[in-house]
């Protein structure tokens, strides 16, 4: 057998090329990663690790299309005194950017609950982080499956 690196590469070369190719595949669509989402979350919390709980992310678990995904985020809070949600940020793992939206509440809000429609580029985890007035952070998350990603469609 004639060894020709360009045609019959070694296992090591295949792996290296595979990694490079995967990089190329990702470059045009520039996907965020779970690590980038983690970074974006810590940027929002100022480095504080959010506690689990109080935040609910409500999305149908199986989605036919990622172009317009009905999403409800809410926080269990009296919205009075220190038990008050000042803002609520939504993040994703696999869209081109980890940020989705940041919602800001006021004394007139009455509830910390928002419904909206978002784009999902792939099956992934959606995380919502609540910033409380007392400086603490809470988080909730949901895993969703998308069969037709948002990027495949025009709108």
């Amino acid at each position: 057998m004639i060894r020709c690196p360009s045609h019959t590469p070694t296992r090591r070369q295949v792996i290296a090329a595979g990694a490079g190719f995967a990089g190329l595949m990702l470059a045009p669509s520039a996907q965020a990663t779970p690590q980038e989402m983690e970074k974006a979350i810590l940027a929002f919390t100022g480095g504080v690790k959010p506690k689990e709980g109080r935040v609910t992310v409500d999305i149908p678990v199986l989605l036919e299309s990622g172009a317009s995904v009905p999403t409800k985020v809410s926080v269990q809070s009296a919205m009075q005194g220190d038990d008050f949600v000042t803002s609520l940020a939504v993040f994703n793992e696999k869209n081109p950017q980890p940020n989705v939206a940041v919602f800001h509440f006021s004394a007139r809000s009455g509830q910390a609950a928002v419904q909206t429609r978002i784009r999902l580029g792939d099956s992934q985890k959606i995380v919502a982080i609540a910033k409380m007035r007392d400086g603490s952070y809470y988080m909730g998350a949901i895993e969703v499956i998308v069969t037709l990603p948002a990027c495949a469609e025009d709108a």
Binding site: A30, A67, Q111, V114, T116, I118, C151
Partner: protein, 110 residues
């Protein structure tokens, strides 16, 4: 006011009991071009999204949102407000091109 900013739709009750928490729904027609999508020429269409929404009651902020390309086209938001008095609500959207849209609605207490 021009470009991609379209017509706004707002839904809220005309009247509410004092102290009631009402739901307000606001949507505006806008393509929310992500900046990641190739146009018909194969070039990436430049990003133009509604990046900010605000709802004010008598000039005071009730709710606001910073939006990113992961928001769907024709961004829709539903949020709540406690009604303490009657007055005027203003709804404002701003997109990347700097275009603004504003709508006003009144609410009365019963």
């Amino acid at each position: 006011m021009a470009g991609n900013m379209g017509r706004a739709l707002i839904s809220l009750p005309a009247k509410a009991k004092r102290g009631a928490v009402i739901e307000i729904r606001a949507m505006i027609a806008h393509p929310m071009e992500t900046g990641y999508r190739p146009d018909s020429q194969g070039r990436l269409a430049p990003r133009d999204i509604v990046n900010r929404f605000e709802c004010l009651f008598e000039g005071e902020q009730v709710f606001a949102a910073d939006l990113f390309p992961a928001m769907s086209a024709n961004p829709y938001l539903s949020f709540t407000m406690r009604v303490d008095a009657g007055g005027e609500l203003a709804f404002r959207w701003r997109d990347d091109s700097g275009a603004m849209a504003e709508e006003k609605r009144r609410i009365e207490v019963e």
